[in-house]
Symmetry: C2
Subunit: 212 residues, 2 copies
DNA sequence: AAACTCAGTGAACGTGCGTACACTCAAATA
DNA sequence: TATTTGAGTGTACGCACGTTCACTGAGTTT
């Protein structure tokens, strides 16, 4: 066969993948301070430790890199939801545990969520469209999840969709707040969590009341 | 005296002001498609019909132009609230008339509200900070207004502030939706209005219920 | 061992940018 | 009417950019 056992690992492919990751990480880091739309191909390449022309071995253009970043960030977001689903506490107390999870995950993935918040409106139109498409898909996914919940199972589909939209909107808003939050301020963090809790409670209570 | 009556009008100062307005309008228009951070001093000057060096007669830098734009956009926003206050219908039915006014005003000032939405996160840090400062001031102003309303006058200051924050957040979100909305789609417009109404009602109902 | 593949190199190009500087010439002032 | 002011002009500069092209040399295939 092709593989010789003296080779320590698949070096060729792995090396390329490592460079690709370096480019993605560099782009994410640089766009934190300047916004993705204003960083240049040369800047990203420089930061990733390669020459500008080598960039093209991985992405055809900055647009394509932007789309790859959107995909990566939403992968983070989706894994958050998946973990939350597994957590049994969520069933007992959706609101409090959601607020907890939200703030925690966002804090540990500031770069990704910051990217979404920033580029949702400020970025290039290609990136913007991709983010909006992903967010809408996310609203629908969450709606399915919510529809399975004990108190909601007999609601209108449209109503569930709307609550889902409200939740996602609040999630984005709160994520924005966490991203803005300076490091090492647990008091602020608690305040944001409290705010998230209140808002979700507001939505749920308001909805119950309304439909009666 | 200095003024001679043969002169048709104050031409010197007025001419300068007109050029200044042309620069502001050009910047606002250009940033609609590309975002303020990516437009260049030369682009703005070209679009305004002057040579790049003449730009400096009006603004020291693009940053300063950005701040002037923030100021202008918030002037639009404030005048919206002032008009809403004068409207007596608002006292009878805050929610429905607010939704009406919001969508109408935003639709007619898409450029200004779009600028705020876009640059709040996507723009240069100077512009971002200015917008956040203005938005916070706006939340406080609205809180004062809300505090005078019949059902709210005996609430906690902090609670009123929070409701105000929720309202502003929803206002921004809805403004974003209106800005995204393609022209000539009254059906979508009605949907957004309905959404805004529901959300405000949700907040109010939720809050009433909660405090009991 | 020889041939091949392809990620990364380095020099070179045309372009648009921000800014400096010396200028013009009409409106404002004296 | 003579002088001053200052908004707008035109040239020229150095710089970073995206993209081209022929190249190198280690990893892979035969």
């Amino acid at each position: 066969m092709a593989m010789s056992d003296s080779v320590p690992a698949e070096t060729r492919q792995a090396q390329k993948e490592r460079t690709r990751q370096a480019i993605l990480a560099s782009a994410l880091e640089l766009s934190q301070t300047q916004g993705f739309a204003q960083i240049s191909l040369r800047q990203v390449s420089r930061h990733a430790g390669i020459v500008p022309t080598a960039f093209y071995r991985h992405f055809e253009s900055m647009d394509e890199l932007g789309l790859a970043l959107v995909e990566q960030c939403f992968r983070t977001l989706r894994s958050m939801i998946r973990d939350a689903q597994r957590d049994s506490k969520v069933f007992d107390n959706i609101i409090d545990s959601s607020a907890e999870i939200l703030v925690g995950v966002v804090k540990q993935n500031k770069a990704d969520f910051g990217f979404i918040a920033r580029e949702r409106f400020g970025g290039q139109s290609v990136v913007q469209q991709a983010i909006r498409r992903e967010l809408e898909a996310f609203v629908s996914e969450l709606a399915v999840l919510l529809g399975r919940l004990p108190n909601i199972e007999n609601w209108d589909t449209e109503d569930v969709q709307m609550v889902s939209r409200l939740f996602v909107r609040n999630m984005v808003s709160n994520a924005e707040e966490v991203v803005e939050m300076p490091d090492g301020r647990p008091d602020l963090e608690e305040k944001i969590k409290e705010g998230a809790r209140r808002q979700m409670r507001l939505i749920v209570i308001g909805f119950k009341e309304w439909r009666s």
